[in-house]
Amino acid sequence: MRSRSDRLFLLSLLPPAATIVAAMMLMIYVFVYHSVPVLVREGLTFFASSRWSPSTSLRSAFYGILPAIYGTLVTSGIAVAIALPLSLSMTLFLNEVAPPRIRAFFSTLVDMMAGLPTIVYGLWGLFVLAPLLQRLVMEPLHRYLGFLPLFSCPPISGYSVLTAGVILAIMVMPYTFALMNEAYASIPLTYREAVLAMGASRYEASRILLSMIRPAIVGSVLLGLGRAASETVAVTLVIGNTPTISPCLFSSGYTIASLIATQYGEAPLYPFMVSALYGAGLFLLVLGLALNTVGLALVTRWRVRMGVSA
């Protein structure tokens, strides 16, 4: 039997919780509602065509977002491919080797990186990283490994898919690191002692412990992908913004988020273009929900198995 004050307590907390659910539902509703027109008009070719040609004439207006989907996947892929080894080695370094004071320093630093406004990364990418990558990374790669399709096109400017991937890696790293670090640090002491008691070296122990947190690593990779796919400002500034699909990392491209950000202001002038941008947004929403759901499920399942309360 609940007391009166407890019931009031429950009642007072219900509205805020309901508001959050309602906001989420409203968001899904709005995105589906506005995407339907372009989907009815173009069908699934909307996702499969690389022709993005807004036009004021109804007959020739056509919107295909394949280049943006491709760009989103490639840049997020690069980001995670770079962030994963970085955060893994950071995790091992801080938990196995580093003295406590350095550990505190680094975790503060990484927490701070996670909190920086994204426009800061974007401007830094625009002014510093893009020219730097062009000179120090892209040009040598093209000169010596130009026969690979990945590096085949001449890096005539730093604003490219690769630069977007690198800046995303820097932005995603704090998150993947935090998740891995938490998982690694929360392996119960008994396991560690057991491994060391078997006579394992530090290196061997780390390998065994790492294999224990594999689900958490996969989960953090998925969550990182979700974050990278949805990042907007920084990517828009460095990716070069062309609706092209090229296997070469030095060419410019588009992501769904940068497509929406650059095109929204003038979209109402063209038939069905607003709907097309909502459709692109819906794709991103579904992708984000899927990645986050699976990622969180993996991390949670691992926590339960380890008996760690989150």
Partner: protein
């Protein structure tokens, strides 16, 4: 799966189904809207509400005139303390839809209303080209001092990818005093839809119609050079400027004011009389004077093709990539708002053009009559209550 997750999934399914059903109706409405013209009959009054004794005029739209409008608004409000004017730069398209949804009182739009829109709102809506600007071609050519000469033909060849190197004879011929390096041209364009881009491609079409067909005139054109891998898109003027500044051997186009602010080199462009002209207040006004001869003299008229007159305008002094931007107004407002708006328009015509921000040119004297006429119509037709 636990019960909570199932409930959540069920909720999502319901929401998606409801949205899809309503969305289909939305599709049919849009299709109607894009294929048929409904003449809007009802008198439109109201719009953004005003509070207290102060009259509030809200505008939004094109970002191109933003610096000049903000300067005018600041000066106007100093001498008219009972009127509050606001303007937000949200893009021409967004400004137009806010205007027609009546969330704002006036819109700024780089392109005029299309013929179809004008037919729909005929008699209810007014347009005034009120501010001149220019698109300038800028470049990053190490070791080059002086002024680069370019023609619409050469620019069309560059943006369609047919001229690849700086030392192409067709560029060389326009600039006989300088030996160009054998370097590929990095071609920079605006990645976002923008009026700047429309003006630039319209210029390419008018000066080289065979090389640059009408289908490539757009706010978001698909430049043939994109396929070459030598093209880069920047977001907004800042994005284009930054790419050009940091990429040797690149070429791009930005708004005049932006190039001035960043001290970027500005090319002289061949006009329709065969003269290479740099943008200046005089050369832009000269183009507007020529174009005004073809414009309707009543703000209620159809302005839908007015940009084709100012771009590549005739005349030896005219800068060929000049443009103007429009105010979009209703003919009828509630009387308090109408009087305030008329004051603002009259103030621009009589006082505003003496306070120009670098990068813009005032419209020539005879064109200012359009602003005064619009002010007159608004006051005459105002609705009491």
């Amino acid at each position: 799966m636990d019960r909570g997750a199932i409930a959540f999934a069920a909720m999502v399914v319901i929401v998606v189904v409801a949205a899809a059903l309503n969305g289909y109706r939305h599709y049919e409405e849009l299709l109607q809207q894009y294929t048929h013209i409904h003449h809007v009959e009802a008198a439109i009054v109201g719009g953004a509400s005003s509070s207290g004794s102060r009259v509030l005029l809200q505008g939004a739209g094109a970002t191109f005139p933003l610096p000049q409008l903000l300067e005018w608004i600041r000066l106007f409000m100093e001498t008219h303390p009972h009127i509050v004017v606001s303007y937000r730069g949200v893009g021409s398209g967004a400004g137009q839809s806010m205007f027609f949804e009546r969330t704002i009182d006036f819109a700024g739009s780089d392109p005029p209303l299309t013929h179809r829109q004008w037919l729909e709102y005929r008699g209810l809506v007014m347009q005034v080209p009120y501010l001149l600007g220019a698109v300038v071609v800028t470049y990053n050519l190490p070791g080059f001092h002086g002024t680069l000469n370019l023609s619409g033909r050469v620019l069309a060849l560059i943006y369609s990818g047919k001229i690849v190197y700086w030392d192409d004879p067709r560029i060389q011929r326009l600039n006989p005093g300088y030996r160009f390096p054998h370097k590929p041209i990095v071609v920079v364009y605006r990645a976002d839809a923008s009026g700047t881009q429309y003006i630039f491609t319209l210029f390419l079409h008018k000066s080289a119609p065979r090389l640059w067909p009408w289908s490539l005139v757009s706010k978001v054109p698909k430049y043939p050079v994109m396929a070459s891998g030598r093209a880069r898109g920047g977001k907004g003027n800042p994005g284009v400027a930054q790419i050009v500044l940091s990429t040797p051997y690149s070429i791009g186009f930005v708004e005049w004011g932006y190039a001035l602010e960043k001290h970027m080199p500005i090319a002289a462009i061949e006009n329709s009389a065969g003269v290479f002209v740099k943008p200046s207040i005089e050369s832009i006004e000269a183009a507007a004077r020529e174009a005004f001869k073809h414009l309707p003299k009543d703000p209620r008229a159809d302005f839908s093709d007015d940009l084709t007159y100012i771009v590549y305008a005739p005349g030896r002094e005219s800068y060929p990539i000049a443009s103007w931007t429009h105010l979009i107004l209703w003919t009828r407002y509630p009387c308090t708002k109408a009087r305030a708006l008329a004051q603002f328009l009259t103030w621009i015509a009589e006082e505003g053009y003496r306070h120009m921000v670098p990068g813009y040119a005032p419209i020539p004297e005879p064109m200012r009559g359009l602003l005064l006429k619009a002010a007159h119509i608004i006051v005459e037709g105002c609705v009491r209550g």
